[in-house]
Symmetry: C2
Subunit: 554 residues, 2 copies
């Protein structure tokens, strides 16, 4: 279904706004959802009741776990779902002129009131084949929301999982900062990245709007351009600094120069080899943020210029009653440089009896990915904080999660989608899923039951079967059992409290704790088992047999 | 600079809206731009005049060309740049309490009126090192817009280039459709993808909102779920179809069954082997869109069920005066299947004397990337149209372009950023760039001059030098010379017509025509040469010498 009859509008007409008052528009969908809706409507199937499962088939990044993210956005989309008059007008212009007018009335009056949405909690650790979201309702309505739901869950879950992998790779005391705005897919891509990286375990972001919108702690100091914009100490027009908790103004530049000369022998550098513009930049930044100096020291030469200039200004700040924060490295061998910086910190600490100096921050931010962090850990390093951009937000290792949205029941009849690729066979019918835990609190297995089966009971033997392979099965006696889905939307209303982003982050961190270490390791992790009940197993295989082609072996 | 003092807000407070009335907010930037602005302001550098270049260092996808995209969004961002009261209030809450109050007044009153923006035309084919955008103005203002500009140009140019590479790979008569909404980075990522893939040479998108907002032709028919939602012919509650240009209603299901039996011998299938639900789905879709049937034929079995069912309904449509469109394949061996489908089309065409049947559409859409298209072309195939999602919009091969924004001049003094990595050395100072063309209309070389040099003249020998390597130089006598940058923003006003998206697409296609074939080929393309004038070469190398460390070889 297509039309090019409509003249191409000036791209400026709609001004790039995909939302109205922050609401994602119903039209953010694939055209085929609309053409299918018309076809359902026309053949009288608009009242058919369908159940669709949203799930993924494979964990990303060669890993064995995923974080579920994006649910709040899905629920709010469903809450606000509505075709506007201008949407209808647009659809009328692009769809075939043979479309009956009453269909547009139907679309205009369409609501999500008759949908029931079952979902896992956002922030839960999730696994392949277990539905993240199950939706029941009128066939055309469920289909219309497929694309926006996939859009909202796919990238959110992917980038939250990526962030969590960085979180696992880094030392727990290491601060992780998301610096990806400039590499994300446009403004909204950048905001999604900041939001879901925080949920996945990052500690802050450079993205100021994300800070404002989502309450994420924001971080940042200065760029190379800041350093190169200063040529010499003459660029500092105001030389003074007011001492901390005092009104006394001192010539801060003079104090810096005094410390420069004191430091030359201690940390072995030549005052005429440091870049004067870099020194001026650090002084200027220190005057602006005397309690927050994090100096980017690699613009010219880390060892001969950047680090000595930082120590100079840091000791001058100390003399004035302030405490500097540390340095940032943005190029070169981060392991080697961080060890060197820590050695110099320690030397200065001893030489001037400033114990805290050895613990100053070392931030690193040069094209870091998950493997870099593992490699740095093996080499040994002294980095306290990573700023991570490109690899984090673009998910370079695997830039798409691949969630799918599959019909599993229509008018109470289970549907199965067969495929020669076993991984692509769907699990039919309405289901209930459980997570079974051992007595150590670790998750043992996820179990999918048919809707009307009794739930597994703690301390009772439960048969867990691989959905497709007969030989794979085990009896599990769980210490405790968790129901994985809750009703999030019913009768036109949100049915659950939607947590704050901070609560979602806590939830994700807590859920991660219940996953065994061997499922989380970077190299060859053990697959977590997702199973079905004996009854569901039999049902799947009966449906499979029923749909075999007639008259031949296949 | 950071603060966690602010309690983390409910993520629902701002409702995910990154824009107000479609305008990207000024706060969509990295925090360090704000902290640097404060530092500049505090040290009296807020009136310094800076020149920054926005450029990239390497073409993406192992290619030798890039399409410049995102300029309109940049210019509109600059036009609407303004900190709101709530932005200021937020900044006050997260910045150090030591920040002077007058700075917030300064921020509140900040405008982009004093900026001058020089840019290449959007849609132009561009190369490494030649600035896409050059911005001159007050240092803090230019820095504040760095992040949003990089955000807006990076992904736009990357995905437009990716689209163009698909366009080059495909046969010129092949229709390319973007199907990536569900795999993009959130709603806005999806819209950017649709917009810039169209600019890069795609013919349409499945994204309905992108169609509405940007006038992109929208396409789509139905999904597998549509097919599986029908179980048998009994699902068709209305059996009739009105004949084309007539009021006569016929029993369309009966006509289909008649054609099914006629076709069994012609294309060799068994009526009891086709899936009845699939036939019902195609009939239903045909009743809704009798002139637009594109049937997805791989839900069960392409050869035994999907294709016979399509031919059945297609011939029935023909009997009723309508013309079907064709089929879509979404799995399996696309080359083999498309050849088979064309053979069957041809058989039907001959058997029933319907010549046009052999030319029906074959659309393919299974996880297609650039290499798949090259491989299909080598094998031979009959596909008329590709629907491409994941690989296109996520740019799987290289998910970030890596544009940078570098200070090249401050207060009329050129600045150079040195690096041990030659590729990272900046070209200092304000520049003027030209594209030199041969008499065949092909681009020969891009040439960067210093600001005050005379331009190269047609038919005169011009020395073009590699910016960093002394031995690489050549005399070029161009047939014609194009100035590459225009003033897009000055005195607070847009200075150029901003073309429609369709015009930008035409521009990109036209610009591509001027690039030699060997620069465009997929495997080992020849690098296009970017050069500097003799005078700029000397200037770079003088600055380089001047900034050498004192007292040693380095």
């Amino acid at each position: 279904m297509a039309s090019q009859a409509e003249p191409v509008r000036s791209s400026s007409q709609y001004n790039g706004d995909n939302k109205q008052n922050g609401i994602i528009q119903a039209l953010l969908t694939d055209l085929y959802q609309i053409t299918m809706a018309y076809s359902y409507w026309k053949s009288g199937k608009q009242f058919d009741t369908a159940v669709f499962d949203l799930y993924f088939r494979k964990n990303p990044f060669h890993g064995e776990f995923t974080v579920f993210a994006g649910l709040e956005e899905c629920i709010k989309f469903i809450q606000n779902f509505k075709f506007s008059d201008s949407d209808i007008e647009y659809l009328r212009s692009v769809l075939s002129p043979s479309i009956e007018e009453e269909f547009f009335v139907y679309l205009k009056n369409l609501t999500t009131d008759e949908l029931t949405v079952y979902a896992m909690d956002e922030g839960e650790i999730v696994f392949p084949k277990v539905p993240l979201i199950m939706i029941e309702g009128p066939l055309p309505v469920v289909q219309l929301i497929e694309t926006p739901l996939l859009n909202l869950v796919n990238y959110a879950s992917l980038v939250a999982t990526n962030a969590m992998r960085f979180r696992i790779a880094a030392n727990p005391n290491t601060t992780l900062l998301e610096f990806g705005l400039r590499r994300a897919q446009g403004p909204d891509g950048g905001l999604s990245a900041s939001r879901y990286c925080y949920m996945g375990g990052f500690d802050g972001s450079s993205n100021v709007l994300a800070g404002k919108m989502f309450g994420i702690p924001v971080r940042g100091t200065h760029a190379h351009a800041f350093v190169t914009s200063y040529v010499s100490l003459q660029d500092i027009s105001i030389r003074t600094l007011t001492k901390k908790n005092s009104t006394e103004k001192v010539d801060f530049v003079d104090i810096c120069l005094k410390w420069q000369s004191k430091l030359t022998s201690v940390i072995d550098f030549l005052a005429d080899q440091v870049q004067p513009g870099e020194l001026a930049a650090f002084i200027s930044y220190a005057q602006a943020f005397p309690d927050n100096l994090v100096a980017l020291i690699d613009t010219y030469d880390v060892i001969r210029s950047g680090l000595p200039n930082f120590c100079t200004v840091a000791m001058a700040l100390n003399e004035c009653g302030y405490t500097p924060k540390g340095i940032r490295l943005d190029s070169g061998d981060l392991a080697y440089q961080s060890l060197h910086v820590r050695r110099i910190y320690t030397k200065v600490a001893k030489a001037f009896d400033v114990e805290w100096f050895k613990d100053l921050l070392i931030v690193a931010s040069n094209d870091i990915n998950e493997d870099t962090i593992h490699s740095l850990n093996q080499q040994g390093h002294e980095i306290n904080s990573f700023g991570i951009g490109t690899h984090l937000v673009t998910c370079q290792k695997q830039p798409a999660l691949g969630c799918v949205f599959k019909l599993v029941e229509i008018n109470k009849k289970a549907r199965i989608k067969l495929s020669e690729d076993m991984e692509k066979v769907t699990i039919p019918g309405r289901k209930v899923a459980y997570r079974l835990y051992g007595c150590d609190g670790n998750a043992l297995v996820d179990l999918i039951n048919q809707q009307d089966e009794p739930p597994p009971s703690p301390r009772e033997r439960t048969l867990c079967r691989h959905p497709f392979q007969e030989s794979k099965r085990a009896y599990v006696s769980p210490a405790s059992v968790q129901v994985l889905h809750k009703v999030y939307w019913k009768n036109g209303m949100i049915q659950q409290h939607l947590p704050t982003l901070k609560e979602l982050r806590d939830k994700a961190m807590k859920s991660l704790q219940t996953i065994r270490q061997d499922h989380k390791r970077a190299l060859n992790p053990t697959p977590y088992k997702v199973s079905v009940s004996s009854s569901l197993y039999t049902f799947i295989h009966q449906l499979w047999l029923d749909s075999a082609p007639i008259g031949e072996l296949s």
